[in-house]
């Protein structure tokens, strides 16, 4: 009997000894969700890689090394929500960054509100993420910004008659809405539109319709394979010679995949590019290139920036408690390799920065690997982004 009491007592004592260690070991944990498998993995890899690079070089925060947990959602909204649950509940991360795919990001945002933990959405474009709930901050780009950049700048510099080919789903519809509004503001003429189902391989009927309408500019409000297929068709039917082509979003992998000749001379909007005139960009791009063999895309830079500013906010607040950190991020102006300057608006939790217009170079002008774009213009942050209250939503307090 006495033996048992001694043993039980020792075990309890050991637990007591452990307790302070358990309390002390509570580092800042950053969670990242991205698409790491399936066809879009090429696009999704960059962001977790960039954030890994950042955290390894960051040093201790609040006395501990920052920890990173990366999860793959395979571009599936269902999986993304599962991962978010895992990250918030099991891994106990303090923030989730990333999440491409608008449906997925919306789901994660709802989980953030449910768990009362921060989600910084860097990849998805949907404006439904702006002013959605107090625990969501929209970073990097959004659909309004992309479409408006293209519309405002293009109407001034590229021509007056515009024909749009739009991907027939929420993203495309949003882009079309904001694009036509921006075009109208600058007095452009929208001569026609076609809604095309995502994944359509044969764009020839749409290109033919567009050609008939005789536009100055053909706007392709699509991305990825659809961007490639529609551009190929435009080249095939000679439309590329008659009109300028503008893309809503154009990834380097698509240019690589289809060959730069197809996209030569096309325009696109972007929140960032590794040749942007921002101090420190070249060094960041080189560092990334040395480590991963590729240049970073805007998703990687956006994620890097969000993670960096989050860590800085924790440092400033002196704690990793959610509310003080979020407050430290709001109304915060910053300069990093992504934005110079960037600003996080408190009213709708939107991160604003200048947006760029890019043009695809000729094959002969490409001097080094992944050097596909040149920057030919920009639109100011306030002009490109939606004004406060544009979506009719207000963020309640905490």
């Amino acid at each position: 009997m006495r033996g048992k009491i001694i043993i039980i007592g020792m075990i309890c004592f050991l637990f007591l000894l452990r307790a302070p260690y358990a309390l002390a070991k509570d580092p800042v944990k950053v969670g990242v969700i991205s698409v790491l498998s399936g066809p879009l993995a090429v696009v999704g890899k960059g962001e977790p890689d960039a954030i890994k690079m950042l955290i390894e070089g960051y040093g201790p925060l609040l006395g501990e090394k920052v920890e990173l947990v990366i999860k793959d959602h395979a571009y599936s909204p269902g999986l993304a929500v599962e991962r978010a649950k895992e990250l918030y509940e099991k891994d106990k991360v303090d923030v989730i960054i990333g999440c491409p795919n608008s449906a997925a990001a919306l789901g994660v945002s709802d989980q953030a509100a449910k768990n009362k933990k921060l989600f910084i959405s860097t990849d998805a474009g949907t404006c439904d993420l702006i002013a959605r709930n107090p625990y969501t901050i929209k970073w990097n780009y959004n659909d309004y910004m992309l479409a408006t950049t293209v519309g405002l700048w293009g109407a001034e510099h590229l021509g007056k008659r515009w024909y749009t080919i739009t991907s027939d789903y929420a993203w495309g519809h949003d882009l079309l809405k904001y694009f036509t509004a921006a075009l109208k503001k600058k007095g452009g003429e929208h001569v026609g539109n076609d809604m095309v189902a995502v994944g359509t391989a044969d764009y020839s009927p749409y290109i033919l319709k567009a050609a008939k309408a005789n536009p100055d500019v053909l706007v392709l409000l699509n991305v990825g394979k659809d961007a490639v297929n529609s551009t190929k068709a435009a080249v095939e039917y000679g439309l590329k010679k008659k009109a300028k082509i503008v893309h809503a979003l154009l990834f380097e992998v698509d240019i690589k995949g289809a060959g730069i000749d197809i996209f030569e001379g096309d325009y696109t909007a972007a929140s960032w590019n590794w040749v942007a005139p921002i101090p420190g960009v070249r060094k960041f791009a080189d560092q990334f290139y040395e480590r991963y063999g590729d240049r970073p895309i805007f998703m990687a830079a956006g994620g890097y920036s969000a993670a960096l500013q989050y860590l800085e906010a924790v440092k400033k607040a002196g704690t990793k408690e959610q509310v003080p950190v979020i407050k430290a991020l709001l109304n915060h102006t910053f300069k990093d390799i992504f934005a110079d300057p960037g600003f996080v608006r408190a009213e709708d939790h939107l991160q604003l920065a200048k947006s760029y217009l890019l043009k695809v170079k000729k094959a002969s002008d490409v001097k080094e690997k992944e050097d596909y774009f040149e920057i030919i213009g920009s639109v100011a942050a306030e002009e490109a982004n939606p004004p406060v209250g544009f979506f009719g939503r207000k963020i309640g307090g905490f």
């Binding site: 044969d202 190929k232 000749d261």
Partner: protein, 292 residues
């Protein structure tokens, strides 16, 4: 809506239909003969495109070599598939082989994704076929005319082969009653393998022909597979003529849908399919036997 525009779109529909014809021909002869619904057909199509890419980009071949070799390579892959894997399940109900091809589809797509990376691959129209021909009343891209030509040639060729040659007669007999043909002393298993290879080759050809027109990526076969199934339902399983007719109908429905009813362009073919199912479940030329 001027006539010239409608004509161009009609022609486009034919060009699109050519792919469906090539694919559904393969699917239908495989089903007719072996009773197998080849879910891996889309994956074979994709393999044809990748063969073309490899031959042209990696081995610096030219397009014409690719067009001839790719279908042969894919046919060979099909032959290997049939003789090693599918053969094992012939004694079981047909849906086991259906499931096997479904699993093979996943396997092949993922394998290509691992080998070639999930990124799209470039493939350009050969120089000789760039540009358009002025047909007087309209301009039409040479490459699409080329596709139409090849499909027509093949369709007639298969029709003649099936109808006029001894081997064709054996295949047709085997489609009707494979046990009988076997009893007559003809090695039916070799014929099975041959037919599967032919079907695979047709899919591979469609793939390499499609390569310049769309981005090559590992999952390019998935979308077109369901549409091919619709073609075969409409035309009738096991019927060559049904495949041709079905392919044209589906190609035109999709293309014309774009002009007259854009939001529903894709759903239109499923509505047509539902109508066929209600009114004539076996399709236009499906044989009643294949009901089972």
């Amino acid at each position: 809506m001027d006539i010239q525009f409608v004509f161009i779109q009609l022609f486009n529909g034919l060009a699109l239909g050519s792919f469906y014809i090539l694919l559904s021909l393969g699917l239908t002869i495989i089903f007719g003969m072996l009773g197998v619904v080849n879910f891996a057909h889309g994956a074979l199509y994709m393999l044809g495109a990748y063969c073309g890419y490899t031959l042209v980009q990696v081995y610096s071949g030219n397009f014409w070599i690719a067009v001839i070799l790719s279908p042969l390579i894919v046919a060979l892959i099909g032959i290997v598939m049939e003789s090693t894997l599918l053969r094992k399940l012939y004694d079981l109900p047909h849906f086991y082989n259906l499931l096997l091809t479904f699993g093979l589809m996943i396997f092949i797509e993922e394998l290509i994704q691992i080998i070639y990376s999930p990124m799209g691959k470039p493939f350009n129209t050969p120089k000789e076929l760039l540009g358009s021909i002025d047909l007087g009343f309209m301009l039409f891209p040479k490459y699409r005319l080329f596709i139409l030509g090849i499909t027509l040639f093949l369709a007639i060729g298969i029709w003649l082969f099936m109808g006029k040659t001894k081997l064709g007669a054996i295949i047709r007999a085997g489609t009707d009653d494979s046990e009988m043909v076997d009893a007559l002393g003809i090695d039916i298993s070799k014929i099975f393998t041959l037919v599967f290879g032919m079907g695979a080759g047709l899919a591979g050809l469609a793939g390499v022909l499609a390569a310049p027109l769309q981005n090559i990526f590992p999952y390019m076969g998935m979308g077109i597979l369901t549409e091919t199934f619709v073609v075969v339902i409409i035309g009738g399983m096991g019927s060559i003529f049904g495949s041709i007719l079905g392919g044209i109908i589906v190609g035109e429905l999709i293309t014309m849908g774009v002009i007259f009813w854009p939001p529903m362009a894709n759903t239109l073919i499923y509505i047509f399919m539902a109508a066929v199912l209600l009114l004539r479940p076996r399709g236009f030329f499906g044989r009643v036997k294949f009901f089972e």
